[in-house]
Symmetry: none
């Protein structure tokens, strides 16, 4: 069943807000077997809204509109829908009661602007918005459905989960969407595609394989529509995993730092980091995961060489004879930090993130990563790229994967 | 001049990624006086892409496409554009050289799939992509322009800033968009709106004031279209700044960490951080700015209390009698870290980011921040909210502003 999402609001078109509603709706609907045909964002102009609805009804049976339903004058979605469906507004007592109860709960006097939100189009089903003052409007026309809902994310999400998705499932029989994801690293997208060319060719009809590159890794997603294809996707996923060989890191949709956290918790291990060029980003990635204090102990961020000597106690001679971006230095950093923080594992990085600081022998993007697990240390050199922000993120992910591979067994 | 942005990729329609490219492009283009008519997202299907282009050319003169230009089979934008513009592909030597140099830099062998990216449509202007292997394609048709560019954010941003926006400005005369921005903190959006209600009412016709809330601060943007309104916007901006009083932090579009960096460099000061609950995020924010090694020395991230005692040498009795989230502890952390890293300034934080760890007296969101400049220390308690990821970011920004206010004079 084809769906189009239309998000309404001038603030989207001037780039003032990132439209996260559409992505959330798309993910939810896909999981329930609906097929998103397109996502559009338009401004708060009546003509534009009507044109977008016309275009969307040509390619989809279900139109989901968010936004433009607030109490102020610039919100015109409701009036535009009256015009589109040739209907008028009437006062709805239930909606009014809902609005009144919200104002009482917030201990605020009800004003005229908010009272006006209780006027709803005559020819539609009104669904109560339990978390806000703008009601949800459900229109039907020639077996097609248009739903208008608020753009406030938590109101929209609640309405979708509690009311709209169940009603859509009842009205339209949706097909199941099946998918299997794999994280792969240490290979370029094109080399991976070459390696998987034959596999892609032999995939049964309806299957697709998407390459979703991130900084430092690629997520592969194998997918197909239809509950009845479960045995097939299982078989293809097994085949794919085998083909990935040593580049395979992990199954599923989790982020690298979540996978690392799960692994450390499962093995009852602790971790610390000694970061130079990543400036605390590895530590941040690890600690953004709720409950990371179970395994994460802390870090020393040594941007200055002197600090590497004083606080991390890296041997001055080692720095002088090998340079600060070297195997010897990151190995010492990994050892010392694990020692200081009394941890089982550690990650140490030193490199040149740019835009300045590169040399002929060590251009921008050169980075040494050491990972430690008990008495074992692995150290390796990488070249991560040229753009500072991306280099930092690619280095952090690469470091996490380097440790994950040590913990695999 | 009307623009439509089309983002291409199945991963957007299944909600796997949030389309941040469109918002970024919209914000940039608006600032240069272009008018975004609509944003659409569609999947990797040729028919859908062609239909979207047809629809978009009806309402806009400039079409900017991102995505679907990778080396793998699911990327079909280039072939679809050949079909749309009735042209064919040919090998482009300059593009091939660029691809080869990227592979050499990364020390990888060039494969056939990536080599194929050097084939470009005959009837278009090819713009080199300095950061990746997919070239930028610029088509013209009946005084309208279509540009296809990669969906990888940093490649797209670089191409937009360096090549596409300058070329669009040259080809289309855009009306000037004038704006003045102000960072404000330590006040809620509704309190600020109430405070500025009269100011908004007296604004001359055509002016608008946007509230752009971020975590820990609000950016206000006063704007109007038309070169001839420069004296007016200057006058209104002066009036606004006066009204903001002590909540005013800074003018302009810079991020908090950039403003801090500028200030430290100007005053020739150095900085270190001692982080507990923010887990390295303050350090990351500071070091993501190019050239931050001029003033940033390093950090100690002490997630565990024991580490606070051992590495930061915070007095054990101070922790026992005041608790780890307290004025006394963050003051000691700020002092010790500045001492260890020999810096003029420092930031220290300790708090409860959630979802667990809150108590009745110190609920989730409680955080103590100490900032130090030479011999002066300021310490203050905040409650930053309930959601972990947002709490970390809000705490980091709040800490940066707390130090910035000390350095103001």
């Amino acid at each position: 069943m084809k769906v189009e999402i239309i998000t309404i609001g001038d603030e989207i078109l001037i780039g003032q807000i990132v439209d996260t509603n559409a992505a959330w709706m798309a993910r939810e609907l896909t999981q329930y077997g609906f097929d998103i045909e397109a996502i559009s964002s338009i401004g708060d102009q009546s003509d534009d809204i009507i044109r977008a609805i016309d275009i969307a009804f040509e390619r989809a049976e279900i139109l989901l509109l968010t936004g433009g339903v607030g109490p102020t004058n610039d919100d015109i979605t409701k009036h535009t829908l009256c015009q589109y469906f040739h209907t008028a507004l009437e006062m709805n007592d239930e909606v009014l009661q809902n609005i009144e109860s919200i104002f009482i709960r917030r201990n605020l006097p009800l004003n005229q602007l908010s009272r006006k939100q209780a006027y709803v189009p005559v020819n539609c089903t009104v669904i109560q918005n339990k978390l806000g003052t703008a009601p949800i409007l459900w229109f039907e026309k020639d077996e097609k459905v248009l739903v208008s809902m608020p753009g406030v994310p938590f109101e929209m999400k609640n309405a979708m989960q509690e009311e709209i998705i169940p009603r859509l499932q009842e009205k339209f029989k949706a097909t199941d969407y099946l998918s299997r994801s794999f994280i792969v690293n240490d290979i370029t997208e094109s080399a991976l595609a070459t390696q998987l060319a034959e596999f892609e060719l032999q995939l049964p009809k309806g299957f697709s394989l998407a390459y979703l590159p991130s900084l430092g890794y690629i997520r592969l997603r194998l997918s197909v529509w239809g509950e009845e294809r479960k045995p097939e996707i299982k078989q293809q996923a097994l085949k794919l995993k085998k083909l990935l060989g040593p580049n395979f890191v992990s199954k599923g949709e989790k982020m690298p730092e979540e996978i690392l956290g799960d692994k450390l918790r499962k093995k009852n291990l602790t971790i610390s980091t000694a970061e130079s060029c990543t400036g605390g980003f590895i530590s941040h990635k690890i600690t953004v995961i709720p409950g990371s204090s179970d395994y994460y102990q802390g870090s020393i961020i040594s941007y200055d060489s002197l600090i590497k000597e004083e606080l991390l106690e890296v041997d001055k001679k080692t720095i002088e004879s090998n340079g600060v971006v070297s195997r010897e230095v990151v190995e010492q950093m990994a050892l010392k930090v694990a020692n200081k923080f009394h941890t089982d594992c550690s990650i140490a990085v030193s490199g040149i993130m740019g835009p300045d600081g590169g040399t002929k022998n060590q251009p921008v993007g050169t980075v040494w990563i050491a990972t430690l697990h008990n008495s074992e240390i692995v150290a390796r050199e990488y070249n991560v790229g040229r753009s500072r922000r991306e280099n930092i993120e690619r280095t952090a992910n690469t470091a996490i994967f380097q440790l994950l591979k040590m913990l695999k067994s």
